[in-house]
Subunit: 168 residues, 8 copies
């Protein structure tokens, strides 16, 4: 079983956030790998990783970083695989990492999700791979249908709120 | 007793904030309903809700949402009822939801209140309905008069502060 | 013909923005008045205005202001009519006026629209008054239907773009 | 020739920005379509579009919007295709549209590029489709190699700057 | 003993912040009063206060407010006494109240201090009154000299830090 | 005629803004001086200025600065005279200078006015000096009364706007 | 042993942050001193310090400050030694101090590091002194190599995460 | 003549800003080189440059970049030379590039100057090199003295302003 999605983070302190990406991929039965890399502390390893990813069978890279978050952009500059960037809230409510990831110059995009948006990064990775894969498309449709359940459950809870003038 | 105000939220996690809207409406003896809907998770239900609200007798819709808060605007695009948007502070101190609610394009307004401003949303809803209703106008005038009480009480507390050079 | 909507601005420099509110109300055949008032320069006149508005038959007040925009909130503190606030971009891209209008304390809401959002303020005023007025509801439905026309026209223009690999 | 990428914008005023996406796709010989749709003005058409896109053969949707930019998120809620969001700078330097697009709630991602980043949106779309397409991979590699040319040309211009103490 | 400085706040929740202003004035032996007033909840009382302050012997008004902080500006519009505004951090880290206080329109200044800067507001009030009062000037000079003590004490603590290569 | 107000700026490029302070003081017949000083370029001169100002008869200092605006705070640290800070918009819409002036540490206040708020700085200076000066108080009252004229004139212009449904 | 780096802070409350700079310099066996100084509370001492630093053998100054952070810039205006500024997060997430330090006017630079970036300030000081010092260059190279260890350790932890579809 | 300072920029569009750094170095008679490099478009060339700079005799690197500005940080990760980062205002008033440059993670500092602060970057580079170079120290002292001239000239212009109540 070879990984098709690669999750990269700069530190295990990102794991509470990024674990949600791993769980989602696992739930979708998509083989993935998780590694720690740092654009600033291990630039050589980042290069080796980025340049070899496609040949190793990776289809999508999910890269998380905080502060002056360079990791997603640096990887994107070294591969033609789509790179999904997850801004980590490590300072300034995450605005620094959001801007450092999303505002890429022309020619080198990073597909950016919301601050600490690891779950959405994984769903986006699945969507990218589902393009010619009807099985994955079906799983995504099921997943989306499942999102309603939270709302249904919320409505049940709301229905139990008691106010004299509440009518439902 | 049919509801005339409809409170919508995306999740029960919004309830500690939005409960204040329910309490205010209850205090004003205005029939209301509370439902959970999500612009992104239950778009079909949002559409059914928005398009039927006026026929069901709803006069004002109060919609709360956080982050990239689309719910108030999406509802507003599907009804001519006034929609009051409550930006929920779920990230970035609520600035993302405030901007995502208030900065509507020309043609589709959302009446936006402050971040987590559920109480004000409910008062605004009452004000909208009081236009030709002298009873409600009277209640609003009483409510407004009541706002002074907090100030009176604050002054009593302040009068008990002791400083040698404090003169009141 | 007595006015039912009152448009207030602090200076004729706001007229290029606020004129759109006047045009929309005119188009909907809703009698309105336009006055200049300043929370800071004419506080006494603001008070007279705010306290007499309801008795003069005004149903909704639209108040525009820039910078430390106090006008909408000050008026709202002196009437139980719904007050719609229009943040004017006079500095800081309008962020100062947006926050000074929308972040009202509990008890005194201002229905805030987007920065320079005069048109939306007027539509919102109509929506508030349409509650028991099927004629206005019809006009609003027509107006909303008319919004599509811009999109239809845009599609016609887009259809004329020529690219070898463009398929529509 | 059926389109595989769909470019959506809310107004022809977005065309000067979004035209760069069209040009890039044309350059890569990828069939695409361009349409105008508005989350707020034509919600019904948006729904028809979003729900039929996959069956019509679309692989990736590129959606541009400004202000309280709901279009990319609303489309993403109605399809499992990957949706790339382009925040348009229509107000507040584009910060409102950036936040309204990127800060999507869990479950419904939008792959966000930089403000006015239409070119990068198109490259990202190509990257998503290149996954199992070695021809596209080759074109992307060529494109990336071509990005160097601007730098080479810049160096030529810089080499002609004359200062006594400049050594290259 | 008649008060010469008037401290105004909107709620006793501001007391932990504003108490520092009272303490400083007490330390300088300047008679002062403390009252609760609200631009939005007690506009009539604000007017009475602002218009009578000078005749009652008040020389400087210190007004604190949070969120869409109108109190200092509203008072400033009704008196020619200098008004010092203290932005209270009640939301958005205090940026909303700072902007709502400092960005006053031409003609009606508010002397704004930093967010939660009650102590500085009181010092500023003393400075304003010291103009023709050599006793107060002397106290201010002493106070300023006293500020050094914190630094001297800090240096003593720093001198006790032990590092092999620390030389002082 | 000895100056009682001192206007300080860092560059003649601030003159178009700061000229309004000079005009206001001139209109109030208050002797003033204007000098250029820089916290960073002429720190020694700043010190001489700040330490001698009170002895030379200066009652209030108005200091303008842009970017990392240190001038008002540095002067305030060297005198017990009240210092009014005018943030100049030289970058970032003036947010950097506003924060660098207003957010002073405890003990050393700067009375901050709005961005480019030179006129208000001068009015505030007059208000500070009017405390025991009934002539100045009278002039201020007149000035304030005069502010209404702009509003009266605005109303005249607004009265000439013609719309079928405009009623005034 | 004479100090070559001088660490300055305005208060011992900055010590938890600035201690990291001291530790790094100690680790590199670079003699340093730590002092408390305040641009606003001890301007005279700041001047003495800044003007004598070079003659005392100091090569680099590291100055930390929060809020309207003037200390680094004021020191920089009085010496030609390089000054490294550390913005302390004391309010507004540190944005006020960052802007008050980094946005220096032309002629007087401050080498600014990230918010609370004391460690990086010390490394930067070492880099500046390593220019003609091969021993320091070697230590820096070792330090940089050591940064990888955190990543290696992180990878070990990540390798122990167990998911059915995780492949490494 | 071998260069000791290396100026790097991503595009000739940065030249109007970065030319000021070149001019300053030329004025100080410091040999320098100027090259275009891009962290994203020419990552391999960036690596070659960064790793060879010290051996080629470079003492300080000045790197300018806009948007998600990775160039200074990427270079800093590959050399132990001090790297000065110049945030270029290419979008969002330069806030994105400022944050993407200054908020570096622990271990890899970038000495950041103000937005578009090329002149200050060059002065800072000279300050770093002047540490053991009394000739450069003398030039810096002269330069600093020269900064006063602008102020002197400004005072001459201000002295010619004519107001009846202006006293200097």
């Amino acid at each position: 079983m070879k990984p098709v999605v690669s999750i990269i983070m700069g530190s295990t302190s990102d794991l509470p956030v990024m674990g949600k990406a791993a769980e989602l991929l696992n739930e979708f039965e998509i083989p993935f790998e998780i590694n720690a890399l740092s654009a600033h502390r291990t630039p050589a390893e980042v290069e080796v990783f980025a340049k070899s990813a496609q040949d190793r069978g990776i289809k999508v890279i999910i890269a998380a970083a905080g502060m002056a978050a360079h990791l997603p952009g640096v990887i994107a500059s070294m591969t033609t695989l789509p790179v999904i960037g997850v801004p980590i809230n490590a300072s300034l409510d995450g605005m620094d990492s959001l801007l450092a990831i999303v505002q890429m110059p022309p020619g080198i995009p990073v597909a950016t999700v919301g601050i600490d948006g690891a779950l959405n990064a994984a769903i986006l990775a699945v969507q990218m791979m589902a393009s010619d894969n009807t099985e994955l498309q079906g799983k995504l449709a099921n997943y989306k249908a499942g999102l309603k359940k939270k709302i249904v459950k919320a409505n049940e809870e709301l229905s139990q709120l008691k106010y004299k003038y509440k009518t439902n």
